[in-house]
């Protein structure tokens, strides 16, 4: 394969299955949380992974960081195969790839000061001496606009608002100057008005330090403004991947279309009409439907085709891939 120095991470046919229900008399079955995902993340770009809960997007995010070991496929970080590396061989990755978790209320140790929370990654990776580390902590706080930093460094998480806590989580994830940050629903627990300021902060840090973000979200509207590319995920598969503009102009997968239809913009006329919403729920990942996993809810599915054959991702527009038999 040709070397591409722009690529920071490549997933090839990634598969993460969990064994469930192993029983004395019953054979085990598998939850196919991620089932054949191929995706490339470039340096300094933001790729959003958008899908409903239970579609496997969080599992995908955790596997990218090798917090989980895949059951199939390959993960290449900087061209290096990290699919099955052990924790000892992953120490270098822990420094280069970080995570911003969803819940700012449970992800910060309540018994630690902000100073200690931010110093921990520096200490673990042996960065500088105590004085230098203190200095880096203050700089990081300044960067996430928790000012004056000396004051915030002394506080405990419970003294901060949700938005401020999430800024601490951002500082913790970026203090080691990582190349890749997986942000798993980083703003979904926050107020609408605070969300935008946190996303703007991430964008700022990205421009400054060239960080690549994987932005995991269920919110297509924020993904539109804060990412370069969007991957739509459904039932463990990627349904569509495209540059933001192309996806917004012309969603090719019926599921992407349905997601867009379901999401309102503020408009007083909305109250006079019902939203087009597809019925049903996402399928079970233990026994996913045959063929295209979306076919039982799909408004345009064709019997004898969509329920039998699994669609592959096809590039139908420049860099715009879709896994649907009927898209053209």
């Amino acid at each position: 394969m040709k070397e591409d120095h722009d690529v920071v991470l490549r997933l090839e046919n990634l598969q993460v299955w969990f064994e469930v229900g192993a029983h004395l008399i019953r054979a085990s079955s598998h939850v196919r949380a991620v089932d054949g995902v191929t995706l490339t993340i470039r340096r300094g770009e933001t790729c959003a992974i958008v899908g409903e809960s239970g579609c496997g997007k969080t599992t995908l995010g955790r596997t990218i960081l090798r917090l989980l070991e895949p059951t199939g496929g390959r993960i290449l970080y900087d061209g290096r195969d990290i699919t099955h590396l052990g924790e000892k061989d992953l120490r270098w990755l822990r420094r280069k790839a970080q995570m911003i978790p969803q819940d700012p209320y449970s992800s910060l140790n309540p018994g630690y000061t902000i100073q200690r929370i931010l110093e921990e990654p520096l200490a673990i990776h042996g960065v500088g001496d105590a004085a230098e580390r203190s200095d880096l902590v203050l700089k990081a706080l300044e960067e996430v606009k928790l000012e004056p930093p000396t004051q915030f460094a002394r506080k405990y998480p419970h003294m901060l608002s949700g938005g401020q806590r999430q800024r601490v989580a951002v500082a913790r994830a970026t203090i080691l100057k990582p190349e890749l940050v997986v942000a798993d629903e980083p703003v979904s627990m926050l107020d609408a008005s605070v969300r935008i300021s946190i996303l703007q902060l991430l964008k700022e840090l990205q421009e400054k330090h060239g960080i690549a973000f994987v932005y995991i979200t269920h919110d297509l509207a924020t993904a539109k403004y804060f990412s370069d590319r969007i991957a739509i995920m459904y039932a463990g598969h990627l349904a569509e991947t495209a540059p933001v503009d192309s996806l917004m102009r012309e969603p090719l997968h019926p599921y992407t279309n349905a997601l867009m239809e379901a999401l309102p913009d503020p408009d007083p006329d909305n109250r006079f009409r019902e939203r087009l919403a597809i019925p049903g729920e996402p399928p079970s990942l233990v026994s996913p439907p045959s063929g295209c996993s979306f076919h039982p809810r799909c408004p345009i599915a064709r019997a004898g085709w969509c329920d039998l054959e699994t669609p592959e991702l096809r590039e139908l527009r420049p860099s715009h891939h879709v896994a649907c038999h009927l898209a053209e």
Binding site: A192, S193, L220, P264, D265, R275
Partner: protein, 325 residues
């Protein structure tokens, strides 16, 4: 006369640092069959306003007064027992935020839906059962759901169950406190469609509490924007969404990421004030780009046909033009 008239409602909470002015002089009307959206950031007092209307108060109440007229009756003068029997649930019911996660895990769903009937209508369990099935049908859940336990249902189904609980006694007003915030986009759209149909079929009035303006526009005939315990702007949806007057309302709107627009969302710098020591005068003043001396005095809400608590609506329009230019 309006179905519900709220005038100068106050609800303060007692804390060790002093009283928290969660609801500080809130007034609004709700007509029969109409929906009012209460919109604001967390901590602005929207849920407290609902608790004050339905008189479900915590123990640390410091001040609770104002006038609430429901169907022509001054319900603030009711004793707690009379309020419980005549108003709460029968007149005004509520779908609490996160209620779907408060369903009892050990009781069948159908049994839980009968609970409001046995408590508020003194009905026997047997009589109540038919009403419960009817209520489940109204929220478009199949019959057999009544015999299921909550863990057997999806999030969207559980949310339908708590909506059924709010409807089972045929209230006139339903308070919806963030009824879809924990749900996926698609489920959310389905629930909102259901709420629209229920309103149309039963002539319900809703008080819809949310921090999401896009969602508010799905149901609201009128919108009240709350900030720091007060309503800063209130009016018909068309006025608020197309031509809001209060700088806070305007900023809240420009912070919404639009799926169908191109304008990038803007954040509002600063944070809401402490409700123990709110700033005197206009409470948005410390964050407002247009603030001037006059804002140290509290602005009136009413200016002719528009209701926005901002001095810019008086002499200020000219001033605003000056700043824009």
């Amino acid at each position: 006369m309006a179905m519900l008239e709220v005038k100068d409602l106050h609800l303060y909470y007692r804390t060790s640092r002093g009283p928290v002015k969660a609801v500080d002089g809130v007034s609004f009307n709700l007509e029969a069959g109409e929906t009012l959206a209460l919109v604001g950031e967390s901590g602005c007092g929207k849920t407290s306003t609902a608790s004050a209307v339905i008189r479900m108060l915590p123990r640390n109440v410091h001040r609770y007064d104002g006038s609430v007229t429901f169907d022509g009756n001054n319900i603030m003068s009711y004793s707690n027992e009379k309020f419980r029997q005549d108003v709460r649930w029968k007149g005004v019911s509520i779908v609490f935020q996160g209620a779907m996660n408060s369903l009892s895990p050990v009781l069948r769903v159908g049994y839980q839906v009968t609970e409001p009937l046995t408590v508020h209508s003194n009905m026997s369990r047997e009589e109540a059962r038919d009403f419960a099935r009817e209520a489940l049908k109204r929220v478009r859940l199949p019959d057999y759901i009544a015999d299921r336990y909550p863990h057997e249902l999806s999030g969207g189904m559980k949310q339908r169950v708590v909506i059924a609980m709010a409807l089972v006694v045929n209230p006139k007003i339903v308070i919806l406190d963030e009824p879809t915030s924990a749900l996926d986009v698609m489920t959310q759209a389905n629930i909102i469609n259901l709420l629209k149909r229920l309103r149309r079929d039963a002539g319900l009035s809703y008080i819809f509490i949310t921090h999401d303006l896009a969602l508010a526009s799905e149901l609201a005939d009128h919108v009240a924007i709350m900030y720091a315990g007060k309503i800063v702007e209130i009016g018909p949806s068309e006025d608020i969404f197309r031509d809001s007057k209060h700088p806070y309302a305007q900023r809240l709107l420009s912070g919404v990421p639009l799926l169908r627009g191109t304008q990038a969302p803007q954040s509002i710098p600063g944070a809401p004030p402490d409700l123990i020591h709110p700033p005197p005068g206009c409470r948005f003043r410390p964050r407002c780009p247009f603030a001037w001396e006059k804002c140290e005095k509290e602005p009136p809400l009413e200016w002719g046909s528009r209701k926005a608590a901002c001095w810019l609506l008086g002499e200020g329009e000219a001033r605003l033009g000056g700043i824009a230019a």
